[in-house]
Point group: C2
Chain length 311, copies 2
Protein backbone atom coordinates (compact mmCIF):
# COMPACT_ATOMS: atom_id res chain seq x y z
CA UNK A 1 0.00 0.00 0.00
CA UNK A 2 1.03 3.60 -0.36
CA UNK A 3 -0.61 6.92 0.47
CA UNK A 4 -0.52 9.94 -1.79
CA UNK A 5 -1.05 13.30 -0.08
CA UNK A 6 -1.62 16.49 -2.00
CA UNK A 7 -1.49 19.75 -0.09
CA UNK A 8 0.51 22.66 1.14
CA UNK A 9 4.17 22.57 2.03
CA UNK A 10 4.91 25.80 3.81
CA UNK A 11 6.99 28.04 5.99
CA UNK A 12 5.12 29.01 9.16
CA UNK A 13 5.89 31.83 11.55
CA UNK A 14 4.07 31.15 14.75
CA UNK A 15 3.63 33.01 18.01
CA UNK A 16 2.10 31.22 20.99
CA UNK A 17 2.20 32.07 24.73
CA UNK A 18 5.16 29.67 24.88
CA UNK A 19 7.35 31.38 22.34
CA UNK A 20 7.81 32.49 18.78
CA UNK A 21 9.37 30.75 15.79
CA UNK A 22 10.07 32.13 12.34
CA UNK A 23 9.83 30.26 9.06
CA UNK A 24 9.53 26.75 10.47
CA UNK A 25 8.76 23.97 8.04
CA UNK A 26 4.99 23.48 7.99
CA UNK A 27 2.01 22.94 5.74
CA UNK A 28 -0.78 20.41 5.71
CA UNK A 29 0.99 17.86 3.48
CA UNK A 30 4.11 18.09 5.66
CA UNK A 31 2.31 17.44 8.94
CA UNK A 32 0.18 14.71 7.37
CA UNK A 33 3.22 12.92 5.91
CA UNK A 34 5.21 13.04 9.13
CA UNK A 35 2.39 11.21 10.91
CA UNK A 36 1.31 8.82 8.15
CA UNK A 37 4.92 7.78 7.48
CA UNK A 38 4.90 5.93 10.80
CA UNK A 39 2.26 3.65 9.34
CA UNK A 40 2.76 3.39 5.60
CA UNK A 41 4.73 4.58 2.58
CA UNK A 42 3.81 8.20 1.84
CA UNK A 43 4.15 10.11 -1.43
CA UNK A 44 3.99 13.91 -1.14
CA UNK A 45 2.63 16.12 -3.90
CA UNK A 46 2.96 19.90 -3.66
CA UNK A 47 4.96 22.93 -4.83
CA UNK A 48 7.84 24.67 -3.06
CA UNK A 49 10.02 27.61 -4.07
CA UNK A 50 13.71 28.34 -4.49
CA UNK A 51 13.82 29.21 -0.80
CA UNK A 52 13.11 25.58 0.12
CA UNK A 53 16.37 23.96 1.14
CA UNK A 54 17.86 20.49 1.37
CA UNK A 55 17.34 20.47 5.14
CA UNK A 56 13.59 20.90 4.64
CA UNK A 57 13.52 18.24 1.91
CA UNK A 58 15.28 15.87 4.29
CA UNK A 59 12.50 16.38 6.84
CA UNK A 60 9.86 15.64 4.21
CA UNK A 61 11.68 12.37 3.53
CA UNK A 62 11.40 11.30 7.19
CA UNK A 63 10.74 7.54 7.51
CA UNK A 64 11.09 7.00 3.79
CA UNK A 65 8.42 9.34 2.43
CA UNK A 66 8.80 9.87 -1.30
CA UNK A 67 9.24 13.45 -2.59
CA UNK A 68 9.48 12.83 -6.35
CA UNK A 69 6.32 14.90 -6.81
CA UNK A 70 7.42 17.80 -4.64
CA UNK A 71 7.75 20.37 -7.39
CA UNK A 72 10.47 23.00 -6.97
CA UNK A 73 9.25 26.05 -8.85
CA UNK A 74 12.19 27.99 -10.26
CA UNK A 75 12.04 31.66 -9.23
CA UNK A 76 9.12 30.92 -6.90
CA UNK A 77 8.73 31.32 -3.17
CA UNK A 78 7.29 28.72 -0.80
CA UNK A 79 3.80 29.23 0.66
CA UNK A 80 4.06 31.32 3.84
CA UNK A 81 1.73 31.62 6.81
CA UNK A 82 2.11 33.72 9.92
CA UNK A 83 -0.20 33.44 12.90
CA UNK A 84 -0.58 34.24 16.56
CA UNK A 85 -2.47 32.15 19.13
CA UNK A 86 -4.46 33.44 22.09
CA UNK A 87 -3.63 32.54 25.69
CA UNK A 88 -5.62 29.27 25.76
CA UNK A 89 -4.51 28.35 22.19
CA UNK A 90 -8.16 27.97 21.14
CA UNK A 91 -8.17 31.13 19.05
CA UNK A 92 -5.69 32.20 16.43
CA UNK A 93 -5.26 35.22 14.27
CA UNK A 94 -3.72 35.00 10.80
CA UNK A 95 -1.23 37.83 10.47
CA UNK A 96 0.00 37.06 6.97
CA UNK A 97 -0.67 34.59 4.16
CA UNK A 98 1.46 34.53 1.02
CA UNK A 99 0.25 31.95 -1.49
CA UNK A 100 3.42 32.32 -3.60
CA UNK A 101 3.98 29.12 -5.64
CA UNK A 102 0.49 27.96 -4.67
CA UNK A 103 -1.13 30.72 -6.67
CA UNK A 104 -0.60 28.92 -9.96
CA UNK A 105 -0.26 25.37 -8.66
CA UNK A 106 -1.55 22.67 -10.94
CA UNK A 107 -1.02 19.22 -9.43
CA UNK A 108 0.98 16.88 -11.66
CA UNK A 109 1.08 13.38 -10.30
CA UNK A 110 3.62 10.81 -11.35
CA UNK A 111 2.38 7.37 -12.33
CA UNK A 112 3.47 6.02 -8.95
CA UNK A 113 1.52 8.69 -7.03
CA UNK A 114 -1.54 8.11 -9.20
CA UNK A 115 -1.35 4.38 -8.42
CA UNK A 116 -1.60 4.74 -4.62
CA UNK A 117 -4.38 2.82 -2.91
CA UNK A 118 -5.02 5.65 -0.52
CA UNK A 119 -5.31 9.36 -1.27
CA UNK A 120 -5.48 12.29 1.13
CA UNK A 121 -6.63 15.57 -0.33
CA UNK A 122 -5.39 18.09 2.20
CA UNK A 123 -6.93 21.54 2.38
CA UNK A 124 -6.41 23.22 -0.99
CA UNK A 125 -8.75 24.81 -3.55
CA UNK A 126 -11.57 22.25 -4.17
CA UNK A 127 -11.13 22.42 -7.96
CA UNK A 128 -7.53 21.20 -7.55
CA UNK A 129 -8.71 18.44 -5.21
CA UNK A 130 -11.10 17.30 -7.94
CA UNK A 131 -8.31 17.31 -10.55
CA UNK A 132 -6.21 15.10 -8.29
CA UNK A 133 -9.11 12.80 -7.49
CA UNK A 134 -9.64 12.21 -11.20
CA UNK A 135 -5.97 11.34 -11.71
CA UNK A 136 -6.09 8.71 -8.94
CA UNK A 137 -8.52 6.21 -10.35
CA UNK A 138 -6.94 3.30 -8.50
CA UNK A 139 -7.51 4.78 -5.04
CA UNK A 140 -9.57 2.51 -2.82
CA UNK A 141 -9.84 5.00 0.04
CA UNK A 142 -9.92 8.78 -0.40
CA UNK A 143 -10.18 11.29 2.45
CA UNK A 144 -10.50 15.04 2.20
CA UNK A 145 -9.99 18.08 4.42
CA UNK A 146 -11.07 21.63 3.66
CA UNK A 147 -11.61 24.97 5.41
CA UNK A 148 -14.09 27.80 5.90
CA UNK A 149 -12.53 29.87 3.08
CA UNK A 150 -13.62 27.32 0.45
CA UNK A 151 -17.06 26.95 2.01
CA UNK A 152 -17.40 30.72 1.61
CA UNK A 153 -16.06 31.16 -1.92
CA UNK A 154 -16.22 27.75 -3.64
CA UNK A 155 -19.05 25.86 -1.94
CA UNK A 156 -20.38 24.12 -5.08
CA UNK A 157 -16.93 22.91 -6.12
CA UNK A 158 -16.33 21.70 -2.58
CA UNK A 159 -19.61 19.76 -2.50
CA UNK A 160 -18.71 18.24 -5.90
CA UNK A 161 -15.40 16.83 -4.67
CA UNK A 162 -16.90 15.75 -1.33
CA UNK A 163 -19.31 13.62 -3.39
CA UNK A 164 -16.32 11.71 -4.72
CA UNK A 165 -14.51 10.79 -1.52
CA UNK A 166 -14.96 8.09 1.12
CA UNK A 167 -14.21 10.21 4.14
CA UNK A 168 -14.58 13.88 5.03
CA UNK A 169 -12.32 15.16 7.84
CA UNK A 170 -13.40 18.64 8.89
CA UNK A 171 -13.50 20.94 11.91
CA UNK A 172 -16.86 20.63 13.59
CA UNK A 173 -17.80 24.29 13.11
CA UNK A 174 -16.97 23.96 9.42
CA UNK A 175 -19.28 20.92 9.17
CA UNK A 176 -22.04 23.13 10.54
CA UNK A 177 -21.14 25.95 8.17
CA UNK A 178 -20.99 23.64 5.16
CA UNK A 179 -24.35 22.01 5.77
CA UNK A 180 -26.16 24.91 7.40
CA UNK A 181 -27.14 22.50 10.17
CA UNK A 182 -26.33 23.68 13.68
CA UNK A 183 -26.32 20.15 15.12
CA UNK A 184 -23.14 18.13 14.54
CA UNK A 185 -24.91 14.78 14.16
CA UNK A 186 -27.43 16.15 11.68
CA UNK A 187 -24.67 17.92 9.77
CA UNK A 188 -22.60 14.74 9.58
CA UNK A 189 -25.58 12.68 8.40
CA UNK A 190 -26.30 15.24 5.68
CA UNK A 191 -22.73 14.69 4.41
CA UNK A 192 -23.12 10.90 4.72
CA UNK A 193 -26.09 11.17 2.37
CA UNK A 194 -24.00 12.91 -0.28
CA UNK A 195 -21.25 10.36 -0.93
CA UNK A 196 -18.80 9.81 1.93
CA UNK A 197 -19.38 6.82 4.22
CA UNK A 198 -17.28 8.32 7.04
CA UNK A 199 -17.28 11.78 8.59
CA UNK A 200 -14.66 12.78 11.12
CA UNK A 201 -15.33 15.99 13.06
CA UNK A 202 -12.15 17.54 14.41
CA UNK A 203 -12.93 19.31 17.69
CA UNK A 204 -9.58 20.84 18.61
CA UNK A 205 -8.72 20.45 22.28
CA UNK A 206 -11.90 18.41 22.79
CA UNK A 207 -10.74 15.64 20.48
CA UNK A 208 -12.67 14.23 17.56
CA UNK A 209 -15.81 12.34 16.66
CA UNK A 210 -16.35 9.70 13.98
CA UNK A 211 -19.80 9.43 12.46
CA UNK A 212 -20.93 6.75 10.03
CA UNK A 213 -24.44 5.75 9.01
CA UNK A 214 -24.74 3.26 11.88
CA UNK A 215 -22.03 4.21 14.31
CA UNK A 216 -20.66 6.96 16.48
CA UNK A 217 -17.32 7.11 18.23
CA UNK A 218 -15.54 9.92 20.02
CA UNK A 219 -12.14 10.33 21.62
CA UNK A 220 -10.85 13.19 23.74
CA UNK A 221 -7.62 14.87 22.78
CA UNK A 222 -4.70 13.26 24.59
CA UNK A 223 -4.49 15.09 27.94
CA UNK A 224 -1.32 17.13 28.16
CA UNK A 225 -0.09 19.54 30.81
CA UNK A 226 1.55 21.70 28.20
CA UNK A 227 0.52 22.43 24.65
CA UNK A 228 3.09 24.59 22.91
CA UNK A 229 1.95 24.97 19.29
CA UNK A 230 -1.31 23.56 17.89
CA UNK A 231 -0.35 24.34 14.28
CA UNK A 232 -0.74 21.23 12.16
CA UNK A 233 -2.56 19.22 14.83
CA UNK A 234 -5.48 18.49 12.51
CA UNK A 235 -3.22 17.37 9.66
CA UNK A 236 -1.14 15.23 12.02
CA UNK A 237 -4.35 13.66 13.27
CA UNK A 238 -5.41 13.01 9.67
CA UNK A 239 -2.01 11.45 8.96
CA UNK A 240 -2.36 8.98 11.81
CA UNK A 241 -6.00 8.29 10.97
CA UNK A 242 -5.52 7.75 7.24
CA UNK A 243 -2.18 6.01 7.80
CA UNK A 244 -3.76 3.43 10.07
CA UNK A 245 -6.58 2.85 7.58
CA UNK A 246 -4.05 2.41 4.76
CA UNK A 247 -2.19 -0.12 6.86
CA UNK A 248 -5.37 -2.13 7.48
CA UNK A 249 -7.14 -1.59 4.17
CA UNK A 250 -6.55 -5.13 2.96
CA UNK A 251 -8.75 -6.50 5.75
CA UNK A 252 -11.63 -4.08 5.18
CA UNK A 253 -12.77 -1.05 7.13
CA UNK A 254 -14.39 -2.48 10.24
CA UNK A 255 -15.55 -0.28 13.10
CA UNK A 256 -12.54 -1.48 15.07
CA UNK A 257 -10.15 -0.35 12.34
CA UNK A 258 -11.77 3.10 12.20
CA UNK A 259 -11.67 3.43 16.00
CA UNK A 260 -8.03 2.46 16.19
CA UNK A 261 -7.34 4.88 13.35
CA UNK A 262 -8.91 7.63 15.49
CA UNK A 263 -6.68 6.60 18.40
CA UNK A 264 -3.50 6.73 16.30
CA UNK A 265 -4.50 10.10 14.89
CA UNK A 266 -5.17 11.41 18.39
CA UNK A 267 -1.94 10.04 19.85
CA UNK A 268 0.19 11.43 17.02
CA UNK A 269 -1.47 14.85 17.19
CA UNK A 270 -0.44 15.02 20.85
CA UNK A 271 3.23 14.72 19.92
CA UNK A 272 2.76 17.46 17.34
CA UNK A 273 1.31 20.04 19.75
CA UNK A 274 3.91 19.42 22.46
CA UNK A 275 6.64 21.01 20.36
CA UNK A 276 6.91 23.72 17.75
CA UNK A 277 6.44 22.93 14.06
CA UNK A 278 7.61 19.50 12.96
CA UNK A 279 9.90 18.85 15.96
CA UNK A 280 7.56 16.48 17.76
CA UNK A 281 6.84 14.20 14.81
CA UNK A 282 10.41 14.20 13.53
CA UNK A 283 11.68 12.70 16.76
CA UNK A 284 8.76 10.57 17.94
CA UNK A 285 9.55 6.94 18.73
CA UNK A 286 7.32 3.88 18.35
CA UNK A 287 7.10 2.88 22.04
CA UNK A 288 5.89 6.35 23.01
CA UNK A 289 3.16 6.21 20.36
CA UNK A 290 2.00 2.78 21.48
CA UNK A 291 1.96 3.97 25.08
CA UNK A 292 -0.30 6.92 24.28
CA UNK A 293 -2.67 4.74 22.25
CA UNK A 294 -2.91 2.39 25.24
CA UNK A 295 -3.50 5.41 27.51
CA UNK A 296 -6.34 6.60 25.25
CA UNK A 297 -7.91 3.18 25.52
CA UNK A 298 -7.91 3.54 29.31
CA UNK A 299 -9.01 7.19 29.22
CA UNK A 300 -12.13 6.42 27.18
CA UNK A 301 -13.28 3.04 28.49
CA UNK A 302 -15.66 2.26 31.32
CA UNK A 303 -17.02 -1.04 32.51
CA UNK A 304 -20.72 -0.66 33.21
CA UNK A 305 -21.92 -1.13 36.79
CA UNK A 306 -25.57 -2.16 36.91
CA UNK A 307 -27.91 -0.11 39.07
CA UNK A 308 -31.66 -0.22 39.39
CA UNK A 309 -33.22 3.18 38.92
CA UNK A 310 -35.91 4.69 41.11
CA UNK A 311 -39.10 5.22 39.15
Amino acid sequence: MSITVVGSIAFDSVETPFGQRDRMLGGAATHFALAASLLDQVRLVGPVGDDFGDAELAVLRTRGSNIDDVERVAGGKTFFWKGKYGWDLNTRETLDTQLNVFEHFSPKLSEASRASDVLFLANIQPGLQLQVRQQCEAAKFVALDSMNLWIDIARDELLAIIGQVDCLVLNDEELRQLTGKPNLISAAHEILGSGPSIVVAKQGEYGSALITKDDFFALPAYPLHTVVDPTGAGDTFAGGFVGFIARQLGGGLSGDVLRNAMAYGTALASFNVERFGTEGLESVQAPAVHERVADLDRFARFDPIAVELIV
Copy 2:
Protein backbone atom coordinates in the same frame (compact mmCIF):
# COMPACT_ATOMS: atom_id res chain seq x y z
CA MET B 1 -28.13 7.30 51.77
CA SER B 2 -29.64 10.64 50.86
CA ILE B 3 -28.44 13.66 48.89
CA THR B 4 -29.02 17.23 49.97
CA VAL B 5 -28.90 19.82 47.20
CA VAL B 6 -28.84 23.54 47.89
CA GLY B 7 -29.36 25.89 44.96
CA SER B 8 -31.74 27.87 42.86
CA ILE B 9 -35.33 26.96 42.15
CA ALA B 10 -36.46 29.25 39.38
CA PHE B 11 -38.78 30.28 36.63
CA ASP B 12 -36.99 30.35 33.27
CA SER B 13 -38.09 32.02 30.07
CA VAL B 14 -36.09 30.55 27.24
CA GLU B 15 -35.84 31.20 23.53
CA THR B 16 -33.99 28.74 21.30
CA PRO B 17 -34.12 28.23 17.52
CA PHE B 18 -36.71 25.53 18.29
CA GLY B 19 -39.19 27.68 20.14
CA GLN B 20 -39.89 29.89 23.08
CA ARG B 21 -41.26 29.07 26.54
CA ASP B 22 -42.25 31.44 29.31
CA ARG B 23 -41.82 30.87 33.03
CA MET B 24 -41.01 27.18 32.92
CA LEU B 25 -39.91 25.55 36.15
CA GLY B 26 -36.11 25.63 36.25
CA GLY B 27 -33.14 26.34 38.47
CA ALA B 28 -30.02 24.37 39.32
CA ALA B 29 -31.47 22.53 42.33
CA THR B 30 -34.54 21.56 40.30
CA HIS B 31 -32.57 20.08 37.39
CA PHE B 32 -30.14 18.38 39.76
CA ALA B 33 -32.95 16.83 41.82
CA LEU B 34 -34.84 15.54 38.80
CA ALA B 35 -31.74 13.62 37.70
CA ALA B 36 -30.42 12.51 41.08
CA SER B 37 -33.86 11.27 42.16
CA LEU B 38 -33.50 8.41 39.68
CA LEU B 39 -30.61 7.17 41.78
CA ASP B 40 -31.18 8.14 45.40
CA GLN B 41 -33.37 10.02 47.86
CA VAL B 42 -32.97 13.76 47.27
CA ARG B 43 -33.66 16.62 49.69
CA LEU B 44 -34.02 20.06 48.10
CA VAL B 45 -33.06 23.26 49.88
CA GLY B 46 -33.90 26.64 48.36
CA PRO B 47 -36.34 29.56 48.48
CA VAL B 48 -39.38 30.17 46.28
CA GLY B 49 -42.00 32.94 46.28
CA ASP B 50 -45.74 33.24 46.51
CA ASP B 51 -45.90 32.76 42.75
CA PHE B 52 -44.66 29.18 43.11
CA GLY B 53 -47.64 26.87 42.78
CA ASP B 54 -48.62 23.38 43.79
CA ALA B 55 -47.99 22.12 40.26
CA GLU B 56 -44.35 23.21 40.51
CA LEU B 57 -43.99 21.71 43.99
CA ALA B 58 -45.33 18.44 42.60
CA VAL B 59 -42.57 18.41 39.97
CA LEU B 60 -39.93 19.01 42.64
CA ARG B 61 -41.32 15.96 44.46
CA THR B 62 -40.79 13.74 41.38
CA ARG B 63 -39.60 10.24 42.36
CA GLY B 64 -39.95 10.98 46.04
CA SER B 65 -37.68 13.98 46.45
CA ASN B 66 -38.22 15.71 49.77
CA ILE B 67 -39.18 19.40 49.75
CA ASP B 68 -39.45 20.09 53.50
CA ASP B 69 -36.61 22.61 53.13
CA VAL B 70 -38.04 24.40 50.11
CA GLU B 71 -38.81 27.69 51.82
CA ARG B 72 -41.86 29.60 50.60
CA VAL B 73 -41.12 33.26 51.29
CA ALA B 74 -44.36 35.14 52.02
CA GLY B 75 -44.68 38.17 49.77
CA GLY B 76 -41.64 37.12 47.76
CA LYS B 77 -41.21 36.25 44.10
CA THR B 78 -39.35 33.22 42.75
CA PHE B 79 -35.93 33.68 41.11
CA PHE B 80 -36.41 34.47 37.43
CA TRP B 81 -34.04 34.04 34.45
CA LYS B 82 -34.65 34.88 30.83
CA GLY B 83 -32.23 33.90 28.09
CA LYS B 84 -31.89 33.44 24.36
CA TYR B 85 -29.66 30.88 22.64
CA GLY B 86 -27.78 31.32 19.35
CA TRP B 87 -28.37 29.12 16.31
CA ASP B 88 -25.96 26.34 17.34
CA LEU B 89 -27.01 26.57 21.02
CA ASN B 90 -23.38 27.10 22.04
CA THR B 91 -23.87 30.75 22.91
CA ARG B 92 -26.54 32.30 25.04
CA GLU B 93 -27.46 35.79 26.06
CA THR B 94 -29.03 36.56 29.42
CA LEU B 95 -31.91 38.96 28.81
CA ASP B 96 -33.11 39.28 32.40
CA THR B 97 -32.17 38.05 35.88
CA GLN B 98 -34.37 38.79 38.89
CA LEU B 99 -32.86 37.44 42.12
CA ASN B 100 -36.10 38.07 44.05
CA VAL B 101 -36.25 35.71 47.07
CA PHE B 102 -32.60 34.79 46.47
CA GLU B 103 -31.46 38.28 47.37
CA HIS B 104 -31.80 37.67 51.10
CA PHE B 105 -31.59 33.87 51.09
CA SER B 106 -30.01 32.35 54.16
CA PRO B 107 -30.00 28.55 53.92
CA LYS B 108 -31.74 26.86 56.86
CA LEU B 109 -31.30 23.12 56.78
CA SER B 110 -33.49 20.77 58.73
CA GLU B 111 -31.84 18.10 60.81
CA ALA B 112 -32.63 15.52 58.12
CA SER B 113 -31.00 17.60 55.36
CA ARG B 114 -27.95 18.23 57.51
CA ALA B 115 -27.62 14.48 58.09
CA SER B 116 -27.31 13.52 54.40
CA ASP B 117 -24.24 11.54 53.41
CA VAL B 118 -23.93 13.42 50.15
CA LEU B 119 -24.18 17.18 49.58
CA PHE B 120 -24.35 19.09 46.30
CA LEU B 121 -23.69 22.79 46.50
CA ALA B 122 -25.22 24.08 43.30
CA ASN B 123 -24.15 27.42 41.88
CA ILE B 124 -24.99 30.08 44.48
CA GLN B 125 -22.97 32.75 46.28
CA PRO B 126 -19.84 31.00 47.68
CA GLY B 127 -20.40 32.41 51.16
CA LEU B 128 -23.77 30.65 51.29
CA GLN B 129 -22.17 27.43 50.03
CA LEU B 130 -19.72 27.65 52.93
CA GLN B 131 -22.54 28.18 55.44
CA VAL B 132 -24.27 25.05 54.13
CA ARG B 133 -21.06 23.04 54.13
CA GLN B 134 -20.54 23.86 57.80
CA GLN B 135 -24.07 22.71 58.66
CA CYS B 136 -23.52 19.33 56.96
CA GLU B 137 -20.80 17.84 59.11
CA ALA B 138 -21.94 14.28 58.42
CA ALA B 139 -21.46 14.54 54.64
CA LYS B 140 -19.05 11.95 53.31
CA PHE B 141 -19.05 13.31 49.74
CA VAL B 142 -19.51 16.97 48.84
CA ALA B 143 -19.53 18.34 45.30
CA LEU B 144 -19.73 21.97 44.22
CA ASP B 145 -20.60 23.93 41.10
CA SER B 146 -20.04 27.64 40.55
CA MET B 147 -19.91 30.21 37.74
CA ASN B 148 -17.83 33.01 36.25
CA LEU B 149 -19.74 35.68 38.22
CA TRP B 150 -18.38 34.39 41.54
CA ILE B 151 -14.87 33.97 40.13
CA ASP B 152 -15.07 37.66 39.19
CA ILE B 153 -16.56 39.11 42.37
CA ALA B 154 -15.98 36.54 45.16
CA ARG B 155 -12.87 34.60 44.17
CA ASP B 156 -11.40 34.27 47.67
CA GLU B 157 -14.66 33.03 49.14
CA LEU B 158 -15.01 30.59 46.26
CA LEU B 159 -11.49 29.22 46.79
CA ALA B 160 -12.26 28.86 50.51
CA ILE B 161 -15.30 26.66 49.93
CA ILE B 162 -13.57 24.71 47.13
CA GLY B 163 -10.95 23.79 49.73
CA GLN B 164 -13.68 22.07 51.74
CA VAL B 165 -15.28 19.85 49.08
CA ASP B 166 -14.39 16.49 47.55
CA CYS B 167 -15.33 17.31 43.98
CA LEU B 168 -15.46 20.46 41.88
CA VAL B 169 -17.80 20.36 38.86
CA LEU B 170 -17.19 23.38 36.63
CA ASN B 171 -17.32 24.48 33.00
CA ASP B 172 -13.89 24.06 31.45
CA GLU B 173 -13.48 27.76 30.62
CA GLU B 174 -14.34 28.62 34.21
CA LEU B 175 -11.67 26.20 35.44
CA ARG B 176 -9.20 28.16 33.33
CA GLN B 177 -10.52 31.48 34.60
CA LEU B 178 -10.45 30.35 38.23
CA THR B 179 -6.86 29.08 38.13
CA GLY B 180 -5.43 31.45 35.54
CA LYS B 181 -4.07 28.38 33.78
CA PRO B 182 -4.94 28.14 30.08
CA ASN B 183 -4.43 24.38 29.96
CA LEU B 184 -7.31 22.26 31.27
CA ILE B 185 -5.12 19.54 32.75
CA SER B 186 -2.87 22.00 34.55
CA ALA B 187 -5.90 23.94 35.77
CA ALA B 188 -7.51 20.78 37.12
CA HIS B 189 -4.31 19.69 38.86
CA GLU B 190 -4.02 23.09 40.51
CA ILE B 191 -7.50 22.54 41.98
CA LEU B 192 -6.58 18.97 43.00
CA GLY B 193 -3.74 20.44 45.01
CA SER B 194 -6.11 22.70 46.96
CA GLY B 195 -8.50 20.17 48.52
CA PRO B 196 -10.79 18.34 46.09
CA SER B 197 -9.75 14.86 44.97
CA ILE B 198 -11.96 14.97 41.86
CA VAL B 199 -12.40 17.64 39.20
CA VAL B 200 -15.07 17.35 36.53
CA ALA B 201 -14.80 19.74 33.60
CA LYS B 202 -18.12 20.27 31.86
CA GLN B 203 -17.52 20.88 28.16
CA GLY B 204 -21.02 21.51 26.85
CA GLU B 205 -21.72 19.77 23.56
CA TYR B 206 -18.27 18.12 23.72
CA GLY B 207 -19.12 16.20 26.87
CA SER B 208 -17.07 16.17 30.04
CA ALA B 209 -13.72 15.17 31.48
CA LEU B 210 -12.91 13.72 34.88
CA ILE B 211 -9.49 14.46 36.33
CA THR B 212 -8.06 12.98 39.51
CA LYS B 213 -4.48 12.88 40.73
CA ASP B 214 -3.75 9.63 38.89
CA ASP B 215 -6.51 9.29 36.34
CA PHE B 216 -8.19 10.91 33.39
CA PHE B 217 -11.47 9.98 31.76
CA ALA B 218 -13.57 11.72 29.16
CA LEU B 219 -16.96 11.08 27.61
CA PRO B 220 -18.58 12.81 24.65
CA ALA B 221 -22.03 14.26 25.05
CA TYR B 222 -24.64 11.73 23.99
CA PRO B 223 -25.03 12.24 20.22
CA LEU B 224 -28.46 13.64 19.40
CA HIS B 225 -29.92 14.79 16.10
CA THR B 226 -31.92 17.47 17.85
CA VAL B 227 -31.08 19.52 20.89
CA VAL B 228 -33.98 21.76 21.83
CA ASP B 229 -33.00 23.53 25.06
CA PRO B 230 -29.61 23.18 26.79
CA THR B 231 -30.77 25.01 29.94
CA GLY B 232 -30.00 22.91 32.98
CA ALA B 233 -27.85 20.35 31.14
CA GLY B 234 -24.91 20.89 33.49
CA ASP B 235 -27.07 20.53 36.60
CA THR B 236 -28.78 17.44 35.19
CA PHE B 237 -25.34 15.99 34.48
CA ALA B 238 -24.29 16.79 38.05
CA GLY B 239 -27.47 15.12 39.34
CA GLY B 240 -26.69 11.89 37.51
CA PHE B 241 -23.02 12.04 38.45
CA VAL B 242 -23.52 12.76 42.15
CA GLY B 243 -26.58 10.50 42.30
CA PHE B 244 -24.59 7.53 41.04
CA ILE B 245 -21.79 8.24 43.50
CA ALA B 246 -24.31 8.47 46.37
CA ARG B 247 -25.74 5.13 45.33
CA GLN B 248 -22.30 3.49 45.35
CA LEU B 249 -20.71 5.38 48.23
CA GLY B 250 -20.84 2.44 50.60
CA GLY B 251 -18.40 0.50 48.41
CA GLY B 252 -15.90 3.35 48.04
CA LEU B 253 -15.14 5.64 45.13
CA SER B 254 -13.25 3.45 42.66
CA GLY B 255 -12.33 4.66 39.19
CA ASP B 256 -15.11 2.44 37.83
CA VAL B 257 -17.69 4.12 40.05
CA LEU B 258 -16.56 7.59 38.95
CA ARG B 259 -16.62 6.57 35.27
CA ASN B 260 -20.08 5.10 35.53
CA ALA B 261 -21.17 8.23 37.37
CA MET B 262 -19.95 10.25 34.36
CA ALA B 263 -21.93 7.99 32.05
CA TYR B 264 -25.15 8.39 34.05
CA GLY B 265 -24.67 12.15 34.18
CA THR B 266 -24.09 12.25 30.43
CA ALA B 267 -27.06 10.03 29.61
CA LEU B 268 -29.43 12.00 31.85
CA ALA B 269 -28.26 15.34 30.45
CA SER B 270 -29.22 14.09 26.98
CA PHE B 271 -32.83 13.63 28.06
CA ASN B 272 -32.81 17.12 29.51
CA VAL B 273 -31.67 18.87 26.32
CA GLU B 274 -34.09 17.01 24.06
CA ARG B 275 -37.07 18.83 25.56
CA PHE B 276 -37.79 22.22 27.07
CA GLY B 277 -37.31 22.82 30.78
CA THR B 278 -38.00 19.86 33.03
CA GLU B 279 -40.12 17.91 30.50
CA GLY B 280 -37.41 15.41 29.57
CA LEU B 281 -36.46 14.42 33.11
CA GLU B 282 -40.04 14.37 34.40
CA SER B 283 -41.01 11.69 31.90
CA VAL B 284 -37.77 9.70 31.46
CA GLN B 285 -38.05 5.94 32.02
CA ALA B 286 -35.43 3.57 33.38
CA PRO B 287 -34.99 1.37 30.25
CA ALA B 288 -34.23 4.44 28.11
CA VAL B 289 -31.58 5.59 30.59
CA HIS B 290 -29.93 2.18 30.69
CA GLU B 291 -29.96 2.04 26.90
CA ARG B 292 -28.15 5.37 26.58
CA VAL B 293 -25.56 4.37 29.18
CA ALA B 294 -24.92 1.20 27.19
CA ASP B 295 -24.69 3.29 24.00
CA LEU B 296 -22.10 5.56 25.63
CA ASP B 297 -20.06 2.51 26.54
CA ARG B 298 -20.01 1.52 22.85
CA PHE B 299 -19.42 5.09 21.64
CA ALA B 300 -16.28 5.50 23.75
CA ARG B 301 -14.65 2.07 23.68
CA PHE B 302 -12.11 0.69 21.23
CA ASP B 303 -10.28 -2.61 21.23
CA PRO B 304 -6.66 -1.98 20.34
CA ILE B 305 -5.32 -3.51 17.12
CA ALA B 306 -1.57 -4.00 17.28
CA VAL B 307 0.52 -2.52 14.47
CA GLU B 308 4.27 -2.22 14.11
CA LEU B 309 5.31 1.31 13.35
CA ILE B 310 7.83 2.33 10.70
CA VAL B 311 10.88 3.91 12.27
